[in-house]
Structures are given as structure tokens and as C-alpha cells.
């Protein structure tokens, strides 16, 4: 039971981490916390479903969704986020919450609120070892997480693009003054985040089941994860996600008072504790302020 809960925790945590990577991507590239990220992932899953329903094989449909999401992400930055950034941080927060509503409700209108049959590329079934069952779906999510995580890490730490992103967030005006086309950088980060979110969406749909509110709960946990890990750290998102997933499951199972109805409180406690010690998360960059 213990190991099963750990494994379950990892496979939930991988979902939060994957979505968390997308959140980190946007935050790092444009300094915005995108509360519509989960809905964009959900939309990607619907796109994949629709393309499949039109006759394309799943693999192609999912690729199409990931590609389309890159465009959607860029579009959202270009048309919405950029203008909102003229206000305060809160303006952007509200705008992404507005987008949340728009995407969520449109999906319900277009595809109804009923669950869609979403197969995806992973075979159905489980792999059991020593009494612990791991579904292929879950393995798919973990695999996608590893790929996206490593890719993102390399991109951010090993390439000029990564440096440009940090510069564009840290000081947009100076970034332009060293020749960085900040608006393209922002668009690229949103696009990339859209794609990572889309990977999350299409990989988790067989497990969470596709309906308009599919990603809502995961979004909350993903935010918990990136908060614990640090909003600008991909590694933080991964570790934070797994930590939240595992602790939530174990606490819900083993701590009597918590039980499953209060298990949502566990990530909160973790966040508060971690942040009190490290106010910018475990791996986050604490911005320097000196007099």
C-alpha cells in the first residue's frame, strides 16, 4: 500500500510538474503567472481529440495539438498579455483569469461538458511489479515530464535564448538595449509554454478524463508545486510537483485527521513551511534588493 501510494503520488506529481514547467516557462520568459495555463492545456487535449475524431491517428493528432498550442500561446501573448502588462501584475493576473473563463466555457459550448473518450498513444493497461501497479498512461506522463524537463533545462541554462529570457524579464528596457527583441522573446516563451502545457494536456487526458474542467485541480497543485520549487526554476517545478503529489497522497492516507477530504491542505502546509525558510521557493532566484 505504501509503495502503491508513492507510485500514485509520483504519477500525480508528474502531472503537476509538467503543467508547472509551462507555468515556469511563462514566468521566466515574461514575468507573468498564467492562471489560464491549465485551460490552455485542456484546450490542446480537445484539439487532439477533435483532430483524431476527424480521422487522424492519435500520434498525429497529439502532435498537431502541441503545434497548435505553440501558436495559441504566441497569440495570447501578442494580443492579450502584452497589453495587460501595461497595468500592474494584478492586471495580468486578472486577464489570465478572464482567459481561463473564456477557454473553459467555450470548450463546454463546443464539445459539451461530457467526458470525451480520449485514448492517446499510450496502450491501456498496467505494469505490475511486486504488487505495485503502474498504468502505461502514468508512465507516459512521467516520460513526457523527463523529456520536457531536460529539454527545458538545457534550453534555459545552455543557450542564448535562455539568457535572453532572463534578461527580458529582469529589465525589458535594458534587454532591448543589448539588442534582444523582447516581444519575440515573450512570444516565444508563451508559445513554448503553450506547447509544454499541451504535452501535459494530451498525456494526462486518458488519466484525468477529458472534459472542460479537466485541468482545474491540477492547476492548483501545479501552482503549489512551482511555488514550492520556485517560480523561475524548471528543476523546482519537477521536484515541487513530485513532492506535492507524494505528500498529498501519503498524508491523505496515513494522517487520520487529514483524511482525503483535507488532503488539499497538505500542499498548503508544505508551501508555507518552505516559503518561510526560502521565500522564493527551494530553487527560485531571490531577486536582490539592496539599498
Amino acid at each position: 500500500m505504501f509503495f502503491q501510494q508513492i507510485v500514485d503520488g509520483i504519477s500525480s506529481g508528474a502531472i503537476y510538474a509538467l503543467l508547472g514547467l509551462a507555468i515556469v516557462m511563462v514566468h521566466r520568459g515574461s514575468g507573468v503567472a498564467n492562471f489560464a495555463q491549465g485551460e490552455m492545456a485542456m484546450l490542446a487535449a480537445y484539439i487532439a481529440w477533435q483532430v483524431n475524431a476527424w480521422g487522424a491517428p492519435w500520434a498525429l493528432a497529439m502532435l498537431a495539438a502541441v503545434g497548435a498550442s505553440f501558436g495559441i500561446g504566441m497569440l495570447v501573448e501578442r494580443l492579450v498579455a502584452r497589453r495587460a502588462a501595461q497595468g500592474s501584475v494584478l492586471t495580468v493576473v486578472i486577464v489570465t483569469l478572464g482567459l481561463f473563463l473564456v477557454i473553459n466555457q467555450s470548450a463546454g459550448y463546443l464539445w459539451t461538458f461530457e467526458i470525451k473518450d480520449f485514448r492517446g498513444i499510450m496502450p491501456s493497461g498496467v505494469w505490475s511489479v511486486g504488487g505495485v501497479a503502474v498504468s502505461y498512461d502514468a508512465m507516459g506522463v512521467v516520460g513526457a515530464l523527463v523529456l520536457c524537463g531536460v529539454g527545458l533545462y538545457l534550453l534555459l541554462s545552455r543557450t542564448r535564448v535562455g539568457l535572453a529570457m532572463r534578461a527580458a524579464t529582469s529589465n525589458p528596457e535594458s534587454a532591448a538595449l543589448v539588442g534582444i527583441r523582447t516581444s519575440r522573446v515573450h512570444m516565444f516563451s508563451w508559445g513554448l509554454a503553450g506547447s509544454i502545457g499541451a504535452v501535459a494536456g494530451v498525456m494526462v487526458a486518458p488519466r484525468l478524463f477529458l472534459e472542460p474542467s479537466m485541468m482545474f485541480g491540477s492547476l492548483l497543485f501545479a501552482f503549489a508545486a512551482v511555488t514550492v520549487g520556485g517560480l523561475d526554476s524548471p528543476l523546482g517545478a519537477v521536484i515541487g510537483g513530485l513532492l506535492v503529489g507524494i505528500s498529498e497522497n501519503l498524508a491523505g492516507t496515513y494522517v487520520d485527521f487529514i483524511g482525503s477530504d483535507l488532503k488539499i491542505a497538505v500542499p498548503l502546509l508544505i508551501i508555507v513551511l518552505v516559503l518561510i525558510v526560502r521565500p522564493a521557493g527551494m530553487f527560485g532566484n531571490r531577486s536582490v534588493t539592496r539599498a
Binding site: 535594458s174 532591448a176 534582444i180 516581444s183 531577486s287
Partner: protein
């Protein structure tokens, strides 16, 4: 031939006009200094050149009209701008700041240029891995200048480069600028309150007052002309 020329440039913040019909020229490989009391519009002039401030009029750099271009594209044509009051990337290290200065460059000389910056400002090499935001005011100013040099621009625009720098550093800086000008065929456009030093180094000078150019000519003229100095520069 001028590498930069402004013709009838005006600029405004909201409803308030702060530049009126400013025209000035920066000849190739020469140093031009812009002087004026505070609030005269010097910073605004420089920001207009780099497309940071909304402005009207014509700005031609290296044969191309740049007044409608985005900042990054102007920079890509070879203009480096060291803004007034820091403008460093506070969360990034000194080294990363310098790397970003060379963001547009692909050549092999980047390393050597970083070493050169460290020679000019030894302080920076001691602080290479420290976050720029934790530097002292003067150290940040050095970093901003060094970052501008890293671009290897055709035109280097400096907004009060001596701000917050120790006298010895200021002197070294101006020496280096003079060297670079001949060495790299660099043109310089400098706003500077330390008028003596700037005039000594510059070929041309402009004086701005309340958003208009009230004098333009060889810097020698300003140096020699006490009335002019007293009227506009207060000494």
C-alpha cells in the same frame, strides 16, 4: 559624413512636450557632447535616438531612417546606449550582464573584450559572479558602461557616464573612450555634467536648454567662451 543625424526631433511625455525641433549631427569617428542644465531634455534626446521615447522628426543612422524602428533593431544596426542611472540586469551576475552586452555578437573576440573590460574596471572582475543588483552604485555604473562596450557598436551613446564614479575611474574612462574612438573607429555621443572633462575629449558640443538646442559647434568654442559657459552651464 555624419553617422547620426537628427532633424527636427520633438518628443513628449503624455501631453507635455519636452523636446522641440532638435537637430544635431554626430560625424563619423568623432565625439559629440550634449550639455545642459538638468531637465533640459538631454536624456530624452538620447532615449529618442534609441526609440525608447515616442518622438516625431527624422533620425538617420548610418544611412538608414531609424526613427520608427524598435529599440532592439536600432541596437542591431550598431548603436549602444548606456542609460542614465544603472539599467543593469539586477538579478543576473556581472558576467552574465557582460555576456548579454555581446548578445548580438558571434565573433571570437568576445572573451578578449571581456578581459579588456575587466582591465578597465578591475572591480568588475572581482565581482564577476555576484548579482549585479548587489553592486555598489559606482560598480553598477561601470558595469553598464562595460556592457555597452561589449556590443562593439558603431555609435556609443552614454548618458552621464561619470555618474557616481570615483575621479580616478572617470579619468581612466575618458582616456579609454578616446583610445577606443580611434582604435575601433567609434563615434561617441555623450551627455555629461562633468563639462570640463567632456569638452576636453569631444570634437563637437551642443547645448540644450528647455528642450531646444541653443548652441552647436566645435567644443573648443565652448571651452574658450566664458559667456557661453556661464549662460548655459553655470560656471
Amino acid at each position: 559624413m555624419s553617422i547620426l543625424s537628427l532633424r527636427g526631433v520633438s518628443a513628449a511625455y503624455g501631453p507635455i512636450n519636452v523636446l522641440h525641433d532638435v537637430s544635431l549631427e554626430v560625424p563619423a569617428r568623432q565625439a559629440v557632447v550634449v550639455l545642459g542644465a538638468n531637465g533640459a531634455g538631454k536624456t530624452t534626446t538620447l532615449r529618442s535616438i534609441c526609440g525608447i521615447t515616442n518622438n516625431r522628426g527624422s533620425i538617420v543612422f548610418d544611412g538608414a531612417e531609424i526613427s520608427r524602428m524598435a529599440t532592439a533593431d536600432i541596437v542591431r544596426r550598431g548603436v549602444a546606449h548606456v542609460p542614465q542611472g544603472r539599467g543593469t540586469f539586477a538579478d543576473l551576475t556581472v558576467r552574465e550582464n557582460l555576456d548579454l552586452g555581446a548578445y548580438l555578437r558571434r565573433d571570437k573576440a568576445v572573451r578578449a573584450d571581456i578581459d579588456r573590460c575587466f582591465d578597465l574596471f578591475p572591480r568588475l572582475s572581482e565581482r564577476a559572479t555576484q548579482a549585479a543588483g548587489s553592486l555598489s552604485g559606482g560598480e553598477q555604473q561601470m558595469l553598464a558602461i562595460a556592457r555597452g562596450l561589449m556590443l562593439r557598436p558603431k555609435l556609443l551613446v552614454l548618458d552621464e557616464p561619470s555618474l557616481g564614479l570615483a575621479p580616478i575611474i572617470v579619468r581612466d574612462l575618458f582616456d579609454t573612450l578616446a583610445t577606443l574612438r580611434s582604435e575601433r573607429e567609434l563615434a561617441l555621443l555623450i551627455v555629461e555634467q562633468n563639462a570640463d572633462l567632456a569638452l576636453a575629449m569631444a570634437d563637437h558640443a551642443y547645448v540644450l536648454e528647455a528642450g531646444s538646442i541653443v548652441f552647436g559647434g566645435p567644443s573648443e568654442v565652448v571651452r574658450q567662451n566664458d559667456t557661453l559657459r556661464r549662460a548655459y552651464l553655470g560656471y
